[in-house]
C-alpha cells in the first residue's frame, strides 16, 4: 500500500501535468509550429530515435566528464580553503567573482581559445559552471569541524592525514552531496550552453538548434523532455550514491 502510494502519487502528478499542457494547446487552438502538445512528442521521438540516442549520449558523457572534473577540482579547492585561512582569504573573492560571471559570456571566449576542440570546450564549460558549489560546501564543511572532533584523535597522536580520513572527510560528505545535487543541474546547463550557442552539430543542444532552424517544434520540445529525463537520471544517480556513502546523515523517520 505504501509503495503503491509512493509510485502512484508522482506518476499521477506527471499525467495531470501532461493533460493540462495538452488542454492549453487544444483550447487555444495553437498549431504545432507555434506550440507543440504532448501528443506531438512520441512521433518526434520515433522519427529521430537514432539521433536522440547518439546525441543524448554525447550530452551525457560530456556532462558527466565536466562534473567529474568539478568534483576533483572543487574538492581540492574546498580542502585548501577548509584547512588554511590564508588560502580561504585568497581564493574566496576570486571564486565569488568568477561565479558571478554569466557563463553564456564565456562561451565565445572558450570557443576562440580552443577553436575546433568541441568536446573539450563542452566539458570545460560543464566544469566551470558546476565546481563552485562543491568548493564552497567542502570548504565550509571542513572549516566548521568542531575542535573536539579533531581533539579525540589528536590527543592520541594521530597524524593530520589520519584525522582527515577518519573524521573530516566522512563528516563533510553530507554537505558534499548536497552541493553535488546542485552541480549536476548546473553541469547540464553548461553542456547545453555550448551545444546551443556555439553550434558544432553534436549533443542534444545541437538537435534542439536544428529543430529551431527547420521550424520543427515537436522536435524542440522532444529535446527538452529528453534533457529533463537525462537530468532526472543523473540527479537520482547522485541520490543513490548519497544513500550509500552518507546514508547515516538521514534522520530516522518517526
Amino acid at each position: 500500500m505504501e509503495t503503491l502510494k509512493k509510485i502512484a502519487v508522482p506518476v499521477g502528478s506527471i499525467i495531470a501535468f501532461l493533460l493540462f499542457w495538452e488542454f492549453i494547446v487544444w483550447v487555444n487552438d495553437w498549431p504545432n509550429y507555434k506550440m507543440a502538445s504532448p501528443s506531438d512528442l512520441p512521433p518526434a521521438f520515433a522519427r529521430y530515435s537514432h539521433l536522440f540516442i547518439e546525441m543524448g549520449w554525447q550530452t551525457l558523457w560530456r556532462t558527466v566528464a565536466g562534473l567529474g572534473l568539478a568534483v576533483l577540482v572543487g574538492t581540492l579547492l574546498g580542502m585548501a580553503m577548509g584547512f588554511s585561512a590564508i588560502a580561504r582569504d585568497a581564493l574566496y573573492p576570486l571564486l565569488v567573482g568568477f561565479n558571478a560571471i554569466p557563463k553564456a559570456t564565456l562561451v565565445p571566449v572558450i570557443a576562440l581559445l580552443f577553436i575546433g576542440q568541441h568536446d573539450f570546450n563542452t566539458v570545460l564549460m560543464a566544469f566551470l559552471i558546476s565546481f563552485f558549489p562543491i568548493a564552497v560546501s567542502v570548504g565550509i564543511g571542513l572549516s566548521t569541524l568542531e575542535p573536539e572532533y579533531r581533539d579525540i584523535l589528536r590527543s592520541l597522536g594521530a597524524s593530520k592525514v589520519t584525522i582527515f580520513r577518519k573524521i573530516a572527510l566522512p563528516k563533510t560528505l553530507p554537505e558534499f552531496f548536497g552541493a553535488l545535487k546542485v552541480s549536476v543541474t548546473l553541469a547540464f546547463i553548461g553542456t547545453n550552453l555550448v551545444e546551443i550557442v556555439s553550434p558544432h552539430g553534436r549533443g542534444l543542444g545541437a538537435l534542439f538548434k536544428s529543430g529551431e532552424t527547420n521550424g520543427d517544434y515537436p522536435l524542440m520540445f522532444a529535446v527538452l523532455i529528453a534533457l529533463a529525463v537525462l537530468g532526472i537520471v543523473l540527479y537520482y544517480a547522485v541520490v543513490a550514491l548519497e544513500k550509500i556513502f552518507a546514508g547515516w546523515a538521514e534522520r530516522p523517520q518517526s
Binding site: 573536539e148 581533539d151 590527543s155 592520541l156 597522536g157 594521530a158 577518519k166 563528516k171 560528505l173 546523515a249
Partner: protein, 262 residues
Amino acid sequence: MTNLIEIKGVTHAYRTKAGPLPVLDNLNVSVPEGEFCAVVGPSGCGKSTLTRLVAGLMKPDQGEVWLHGERVTSPRKTVGMAFQNPVLLEWRTIIDNVILPLEIVAPRMPQRDREARAMHLLEMVGLKGFERKRPSELSGGMRQRASLCRSIVHKPDVLIMDEPFGALDAFTREDLWQTMRDLRAAEPFTCVLITHDLRESVFLGDQVIVLSGRPARTQHVLDVTLPADRRIDSLYTPEATEMLHLLREQIRIAQGRDGDLH
C-alpha cells in the same frame, strides 16, 4: 607513591586582539597514580586550558607538565579524553565509535580483539544490545556512556574529562557518576575531571582542587574523606555536607565575592 601527573608552575596566556589574556598563573597540581582529581572553579577560569595542557594539545608559556616522569610536549597515546559533547561519529555504529582509539593506538590489533574489548566496556556501562545502533538512535545519557567507553578503550594511564556530564539532567548525571565509579573499580586509571558540580566533585574525587578566578591559581585542595565504595546516599551524610559547604565557600572566594553575605 609517585605522582603520575605533575603540573609545575604553569603560566599561560591567550593572545587576543585586546592583548594577552592570562588564564593560568603559576599553577601547581600533583595527582598520584590511580587517584581521581576533580577540578572546580568559576566559569572561564582556565579549567579547559588545563585539560588541553595535560593532553599535550598545547604547550604552556611557562612551567612544565609531567606525565609518568616524562615531560609532556606533544600528544601521547596513553591519554583518554571525554568532553561535555560526546562527539560520537554519526556515520559509525556505537561499537565502531568505541573502537576508534584502538585503530590509532593499536593498528595491528585484530578486529575481533578490538570488538571484544569494546563489547566488554559497553556491557559494563549497560549498553549491551545497542552496539550496532547509530549514535542518533541513542539518548543523551547513552551517548555519553558510549563516549566514556571510547575514552578508556585503549587503557589510558590518564583519563581527562572536561565537564562530561554537564549537559545531562540531574538523575541521568547521578546514574553516570555511579557508572564512572564502577568503571574505575574495574579498570584503575588516573583521572582529571573538570566540573562545575560540587556534588559531582565530592562523589567522584579523591581530591578536589579549587581554582581561583582568572588567571587561575590553586586556591584550595580538599582531600575527600568519604569511603571508597560511595553511594549517592553518601552525599547526604554530615561529612559530605561539611565538605560541600567548604567548597561552596571557596568558590565564593574564587569568584571574588568575599564581602557578599551568601
